[in-house]
């Protein structure tokens, strides 16, 4: 009775072929031009082997960008999870179901905004003269507060915007995760006179370990997309204090010198690093 069904092949082949072409052609091409010395102004260029890669490791700006990117990943992932778990628990503990519904909607606003909008909104809020966030400091001390122009605070200020977008969003997810937990362990702990914070620290959070690790994983991937925020808020400045790898690759390949091959070698290194690291993590997290 069972006839051969053509549906899986018909439905899967075209989209997968398109995805494969769209993903592999640029990847292969990036590797190809990273072995050449092509520039934007000159369409050709010749084979230079590993020269671009060797140059990278003596390029201080590149090493700085690696450091900034790593700092960015650690800071934004950690703070996002801390904010998300904290606010998620508060929502679960103190908010009525109606308040939860309203808060859920409000907490989703930041992450839905275009990154360019979020970046501008906060850039203006942090404006040393007219900003609403810096106003109280200015009113009290009489000094303008210029967080984005100081190398010590610029990266953290941009990170704050990223955490604002993702921390609030993940708080909603943590709330939904807490809602899926069975109530019995909580009741048992309450009968044993456990304090609220003990219930969460020793029962709820450990029960949610797997989904929370997945959330951290998602945030690690999304934190790679820091470019929009940094481009609008600081352009990598002051100096190179907030220049992440994608910002540096962009300015090498596009703005300053048009060294496409050099930028490509950076892109290839990033690609290899993220693909290897994330694949390893993913295979470990998923059973």
């Amino acid at each position: 009775m069972k006839t051969r069904n053509s549906l899986p092949a018909v439905f899967l082949a075209p989209p997968l072929a398109i995805l494969a072409v769209l993903a592999f052609v640029p990847t292969a091409y990036a590797i190809y031009i990273s072995f050449r010395n092509r520039e934007l102004s000159r369409p050709d260029g010749s084979f230079v082997g590993l020269q671009n890669y060797l140059d990278l490791f003596s390029d201080r700006r590149f090493l700085n960008a690696v450091g900034v990117s790593l700092t960015w990943e650690v800071v934004t992932v950690t703070l996002t999870l801390v904010v998300a778990i904290g606010l998620g628990i508060l929502l679960f503990e103190f908010a009525s179901s109606r308040m939860r519904a309203v808060m859920t909607l409000l907490f989703l606003v930041p992450v839905i905004l275009p990154r360019v909008s979020a970046a501008f909104v906060w850039k203006f809020a942090f404006h040393p003269l007219y900003g609403i966030v810096t106003y109280p400091y200015k009113a009290i001390t009489g000094q303008p507060l210029d967080l984005l122009s100081s190398p010590a605070t610029a990266l953290m200020t941009v990170a704050l915007v990223d955490v604002w977008q993702w921390g609030l969003f993940f708080a909603v997810i943590v709330l939904k995760l807490l809602e899926t937990l069975p109530p019995q362990p909580f009741e048992a702990a309450r009968l044993d006179h456990a304090r609220s914070f003990e219930i969460y620290a020793y029962i709820a959070i450990p029960m949610l370990k797997a989904p929370l690790i997945s959330l951290a994983f998602i945030k690690m991937i999304e934190s790679l997309r820091a470019f929009d925020l940094i481009y609008v808020m600081t352009r990598g400045g002051p100096g190179i204090a907030t220049e992440t790898l994608d910002m540096y690759a962009f300015s090498q390949g596009f703005i300053e010198s048009g060294r496409i091959s050099y930028a490509s070698s950076m892109a290839v290194l990033m690609m290899v690093a993220t693909t290897v690291i994330f694949t390893v993590i993913w295979k470990r997290v998923k059973p």
């Binding site: 069904n5 053509s6 549906l7 899986p8 439905f11 075209p14 989209p15 997968l16 398109i18 995805l19 769209l22 990847t27 091409y29 031009i33 092509r38 606010l87 508060l90 929502l91 503990e93 103190f94 808060m103 859920t104 907490f107 989703l108 606003v109 839905i112 905004l113 275009p114 990154r115 360019v116 909008s117 501008f120 909104v121 809020a125 003269l129 609403i132 106003y135 009113a139 604002w164 609030l168 997810i173 995760l177 809602e179 899926t180 991937i221 997309r225 470019f227 481009y231 690759a249 962009f250 596009f254 496409i260 930028a263 490509s264 892109a267 690609m271 993220t274 693909t275 994330f278 993913w282």
Partner: protein, 270 residues
């Protein structure tokens, strides 16, 4: 106990306030004349003006950016949905020995740093003569929309009760009719959320558009960011107005997107 309750609620209200106030403040500033923005003390009471919006909407670059954004996001989302929804259905309903690998491949596309895709694509489109065209943007964004629709579509189709599809098959429906007439309508709520999410992703996309366009095909985020980089006499009101304009479409979809989130978690708990 009441003190911790009070404090907890206070923190929540503060977080909710911080979530919406910056955008509200931007919207307020969009209705101000420049003199009311450039004040030593932030002004809450002022004479509102529509000049900023009139200026932004009257600018050719903004109008062109809006058209480019709508066409490139609309086109790539359409292709992503037309090809991605069937693919998601096939993965959800006809598991084979590659299903897990296919899903991992689709997910792993997200691991690629955008700059690593954008630099080679810029060169490829330049060489092919399609640099700075909507066509190149739509094709590039299809990578994004297709992967997103497949990734979110699989669980949506998996939640459709199998019995319903089997009943339809007994009634003589072929596999394609089951997909079109049964699975698609039943899963439509979640699928609309998935498509809306893909649209927001592309609408908000910045880096790829920045690298693949210079003038003709510039999308709205690029136009807005150029306005924010203006020099000395920054037209703050106009800036605020353009940011508000850029943010309206995603915010309109917030209801659909939070519905997607609710669906995803509600079913899991049963």
């Amino acid at each position: 106990m009441t003190i911790s309750r009070f404090l907890g609620k206070a923190v929540l209200y503060l977080a909710a306030f911080s979530a919406v106030f910056p955008m509200v403040w931007t919207a307020i500033n969009a209705f101000k004349n420049r003199v009311d923005i450039v004040t030593p003390t932030p002004l809450f009471i002022f004479t509102p003006t529509l000049d900023n919006f009139a200026y932004v909407l009257g600018r050719e670059s903004v109008a062109a950016g809006l058209v480019n954004s709508l066409l490139s996001a609309g086109g790539s989302v359409l292709i992503g949905a037309l090809l991605g929804l069937p693919a998601a259905y096939a993965i959800a309903r006809y598991p084979n020995r590659w299903s897990a690998d296919i899903q991992f491949f689709v997910l792993s596309l997200r691991f690629l740093p955008p700059v690593a895709v954008a630099i080679p694509l810029m060169v490829i489109w330049l060489d092919l003569g399609f640099y700075d065209t909507r066509l190149s943007l739509i094709v590039t964004y299809t990578l994004l929309t297709l992967a997103t629709v497949i990734w979110l579509g699989v669980p949506a189709f998996a939640r459709v009760p199998k019995e319903v599809e089997e009943a339809a098959r007994v009634d003589g429906y072929g596999p394609y009719a089951v997909f079109l007439l049964i699975a698609l309508p039943i899963a439509s709520r979640s699928l609309i959320g998935a498509v809306a999410f893909a649209f927001v992703l592309v609408w908000n996309e910045f880096l790829i558009a920045l690298m693949l366009t210079t003038s003709d095909a510039k999308t709205l985020p690029i136009v807005a960011s150029e306005l924010t980089q203006l020099g000395r006499d920054v037209p703050w009101g106009i800036l605020n107005a353009s940011v508000v304009l850029l943010s309206i479409p995603p915010l309109l979809l917030i209801g659909i997107l939070s519905g997607l989130l609710n669906n995803a978690f509600r079913r899991k708990s049963n």
